[in-house]
């Protein structure tokens, strides 16, 4: 039996309802195509058990959390893609226009830089010369929330992303 078939229908419905509720609470929408969306949620549940974190079902995870951090759902690219294309890469999250049937969901280009480029970006981030503010500013890479404090919060108060999804912004 494949991993995708090993997830029970009850488990999928439970997760689906939770994703839907959390999305609405945060001002987001999940894809109204329930059958397609449940397929994506099965993929997220498989990735959770396979890697220990729910990485994007439509992207190849390397199984190393540090390398996959930007594609743990909700990914770092969701907000930009929903604005630009009406849906995130896997199409779990959609815009209001898609929700209301005014815009179709299409296959969208990949906003995540290729592996070689990601490595270069990570190297560059370390080289930045930080300004001399009284406190550093931290940015949630999932929703853009900013806060000035010694370190990032344990959990983003806006989107609930964990501490490791924050970057030093200023």
């Amino acid at each position: 039996m494949s991993e995708m078939d090993s997830i029970s229908p009850q488990e999928i419905v439970r997760a689906y309802e939770k994703y839907k509720k959390d999305a609405v609470a945060g001002g987001y929408n999940i894809n109204p195509d329930a059958e397609f969306t449940k397929g994506l949620i099965s993929g997220l549940l498989v990735n959770q058990s396979r890697y220990g974190y729910p990485s994007c079902p439509c992207r190849l995870a390397m199984g190393n959390k540090q390398d996959d951090l930007d594609i743990i759902c909700p990914c770092d690219y969701r907000d930009g893609d929903v604005v630009k294309y009406g849906a995130c890469y896997c199409a779990l999250y959609v815009s209001q226009a898609v929700l209301e049937g005014r815009q179709p969901v299409q296959s969208i280009p990949e906003s995540r830089p290729p592996r070689a480029e990601r490595k270069k970006q990570a190297a560059r981030a370390v080289d930045l010369d930080w300004s001399k503010l009284p406190l550093p500013v931290w940015r949630c890479k999932v929703c853009g929330y900013l806060c000035a404090r010694d370190g990032p919060p344990e959990v983003c108060p806006i989107c609930k992303a964990k501490k490791d999804r924050f970057e030093r912004f200023i």
């Binding site: 991993e3 498989v46 439509c58 896997c90």
Partner: protein, 93 residues
């Protein structure tokens, strides 16, 4: 490497690189199956270590983003994403 073969009518050499968890990959496989064409597919996310790296290198040759689904037609054309019209056109169906 565990490349799966699907029987059907010949519409050229079709190699689909896909992820077992992905909705767009599932839609692409469904389209090929509904069209009744013969194709091969590989679930790259089910591979480990060296085999996974080899598969990534094969996909990157056609699609540097290494995104899925990547459909390679007759070792000469590549369609990235679930693009029903493009796939039908390329297969002349």
């Amino acid at each position: 490497m565990n490349i799966e073969h699907v029987q059907g009518k010949k519409a050229g050499k079709l190699m689909l690189y896909a992820l077992s968890t992905c909705g767009h990959c599932r839609n692409t496989r469904k389209l090929l199956t509904d069209l009744g064409v013969e194709y091969d597919y590989l679930y790259v996310d089910l591979l480990q270590g060296q085999e996974k790296e080899q598969a990534i290198a094969m996909v990157e040759k056609w699609n540097p983003d290494c995104s899925f689904p990547t459909l390679v037609i007759n070792d000469s054309k590549c369609i990235v994403g679930f693009k029903e019209a493009d796939i039908k056109e390329a297969l002349k169906l």
